[in-house]
């Protein structure tokens, strides 16, 4: 029986840069592939919409001045919203992807109305299982990582 293709992150090579077609099957995925970057909507209006839907409404997410009174630099984008941005990025790249696991570490806060990039890199492909592992980051305009993690998806 053939063994599935599994490649380690140390073997990472960098990918085709001009890929803009959606991934539909496991053979479309390349090791080391960088997922199309995604700039999320972190406006106060959109964060209010999110926390209302999530049942997480709090001034620390929806009011810059109230957040500052709590010692924060500004209103925060909830960590779970960053996780949602990462999930959306995966679906933009592979619309049929089924996310089986997404694990995120909130290293530093993301601030409402600041600009962030949502990034992903393919680090493992198992063609037999149809699974792909993706390293995830949320970076700010200074390219500092605010959130990082991994996802495991089925295609």
């Amino acid at each position: 029986m053939d063994h599935p293709i599994r490649v380690s992150s140390s073997e990472r090579n960098h990918k085709k840069s001009d890929k803009d077609m959606a991934v539909e099957k496991i053979s479309d995925v390349e090791f080391g592939e960088v997922l199309p970057a995604f700039t999320p909507d972190t406006s106060l209006e959109n964060v209010k919409k999110f926390v209302s839907a999530a049942g997480w409404d709090s001034p620390r997410f929806t009011d810059h001045e109230a957040a500052k009174e709590q010692g924060l630099p500004a209103a925060l984008v909830p960590g779970i919203m960053s996780q949602g941005f990462l999930s959306a990025m995966i679906h933009h790249w592979a619309p049929n992807a089924e996310i089986k696991m997404i694990d995120t570490v909130f290293r530093a806060p993301c601030l409402v109305d600041d600009q962030y990039n949502i990034n992903g890199v393919v680090t493992d492909i198992d063609t037999e299982k149809g699974s792909v592992e993706i390293d995830l980051t949320v970076t700010n305009s200074a390219n500092e990582t605010r959130v990082f993690g991994t996802a495991n998806i089925l295609i």
Binding site: K49, F85, E98
Partner: protein, 153 residues
Amino acid sequence: MTGQDSIDVESLREEFLGQVFDEYVFSLDADQLAQYAQSCGETASKFTDPNDPDFQAPPTIASSFNPRKAYPDNFPSFQGLGMDAGKSVHLEKPMRAGEQITAKTSMHDIYTKSGRSGRMVFFVNRMTMVDSQGVVLGSSDTSVVIREKPQEE
């Protein structure tokens, strides 16, 4: 316990790991699910349109579920700043609007990491979601870290 005592991780593990300390039943609202997905930037109609025949909750929705109790009864309180250290979601089946979901939360893990600024203790709560037939839909882990003050010699 005072701020100078170190947390007895082994005894906490023995007493509390695996103990389900919170359970409740709920259902998800279609419009709220669509709003959650849209605000995160999802564009597929199966996440954004409640009329889509395959309409389902976005995969990370379980991260937003909170247990009614944060810790088991009789769990000690600790001095120090507790911080949200991360969220992890495992999915078995999509969650759907209107279905009855039972969420059970247990203390899944307690572990330590040591650094230059002292020891950090991580508490991991796991919420497991099952449908009305008892089929597991997925689970969500929430990690909280407490940084201990270094022990004085």
